[in-house]
Amino acid sequence: MRDVCIAGIGQIAVGEHWDRSLRDMAVDAVVSALNDAQVERPQMLFVGNMLSGQLSLQENLGALVADYAGLRGIEAFKIEAACASAAAALRLAYLAVAGGMCDVAVACGVEKMTESRSDRVTTALATAADAVYEAEQGVSFVALNALLMQRYMHQYGYRREDFGGFAVNAHANAAGNPWAMFQRPITPEQFATARLIAAPISLLDSAGIGDGAAAVVVMPADLAGQPPRKPVRIRASASATDAVALHDRRDPLVLDAAALSAGRAYAEAGVGPQDVDLFELHDAFTIMSALSIEACGLAPRGHGVGLAKEGAIALHAAHPMSTMGGLKARGHPVGATGLYQVVEACLQLRGEAGVNQIKGASLAMTQNIGGSGANVFTHILERCW
């Protein structure tokens, strides 16, 4: 098993790209990652995507993106793991390179969400849940998270407003990220009075969906080179699954798969939660942030919300999170999100995070969650020069 690095990164701004198609956006991200890595031609391409079959009537994305990126002939795969599709693509690129099966792999995540009617998007997102026993009951994906949040509030005695810290922090950080969808701060008052979309979840608990694409080039450490290239080492790559349906979980308020995958990642990297300088967590909903923090060992059960309330997740506090805006404010193109997290962590480790730079950041963790906790991917990344 070889040491593996991220040798190049690429992303496009998250937003409403009505002038760029699904394939155009993916090509933009792939080409900019290859340029950044100064590599001409990878051997393998892993495309993370969740919705293109349903919303754009386009499958076969592996071959399509490879061809349009000028890479006709290489091996290519489309990987789907709901909102964790992009991190799943990275995990497989990592496997291929770490196992010595190829020397240059690209992982790309892409999603086109803004050109479909909102009810179609709502239906398509619900395919992350159990179609027969959840979606068929009229439960949207937002509603599943609302069920978690309501129970969490009841069980641990929180109010809606207590979750505001996650959203306020994300928006504050997005203001410094030129690739973010919502580059403006919000106030706790705005959070408290935001319109409910599935009570107790409001618009400001929820990540904004958008179009986007992000990509990384994965290479063995000995080929990834040195500065001016700035390779970022993948210290750990891990994943784990849980039941898809909330009602099938051991305990809906415990993200077993997140705990398992984080635990595997810590073991592989030989570090603990306190060693991480920044954490790009899956803040698709504020409740997911709380549960992810608890599963990763950064707070005891029922105390995940506390970290945000106390300001401990701010850029220069003890546990910086969502440092470039997170899913909440950078925007959440679902099948691409996991690689936005990784690209952002790389920017921090490379010292290229601009006004959001965390001084001396050397170890970053990213966690990408598919469904309401069904398939979870954790990566630990390290500055290595």
Binding site: A126, A131, Q137, V139, L147, H154, H247
Partner: protein, 136 residues
């Protein structure tokens, strides 16, 4: 949902038939072939009583295709008195009256009318247990 999927799930949707694992006695709903607790084959039907309580709930304002007509509506995780959680809509209740722990019972209702196939989907919903409602 296709007509064969309706047919396949008719017992669980209309009569709340799940399973009790013959090996480890785990109570299972929805039914499945393999027990998630002991990994043994779990094919012993168990007819749930249909009484339980609200474990969590949400009022949905933005609904998926084919449910928009019904929005807003209340969805819930219901804990059956035999143990399992399930996901269902609440009915015959005002959203503001729902609370965690509220006793509920299963009723059969229309879930939605499917557009193109004209197939109407029936299944379980839950309503407040009448005695409690009367005493409220």
């Amino acid at each position: 949902m296709s007509s064969s999927s309706h047919w396949r799930t008719r017992r669980q949707r209309l009569a709340l038939v799940g399973e009790q694992c013959p090996h480890c006695q785990a109570m299972l709903f929805p039914p499945r072939d393999i027990c998630p607790s002991c990994h043994g084959p779990a094919k012993e039907p168990y007819h749930y009583g249909g009484v339980g309580s609200v474990y969590s709930f949400s009022e949905v304002y933005t609904a998926p295709d084919a449910y928009e007509h019904y929005a807003p509506y209340v969805v819930a995780l219901v804990q059956l008195e035999e143990g399992p959680l399930l996901t269902a809509q609440l009915t015959d209740v005002e959203p503001e009256d729902v609370y965690v722990g509220m006793p509920v019972e299963m009723v059969t209702r229309r879930l939605r009318a499917e557009g193109p196939e004209g197939l109407i989907s029936y299944g379980y919903k839950f309503r407040p247990v009448p005695e409690r409602v009367a005493a409220h």
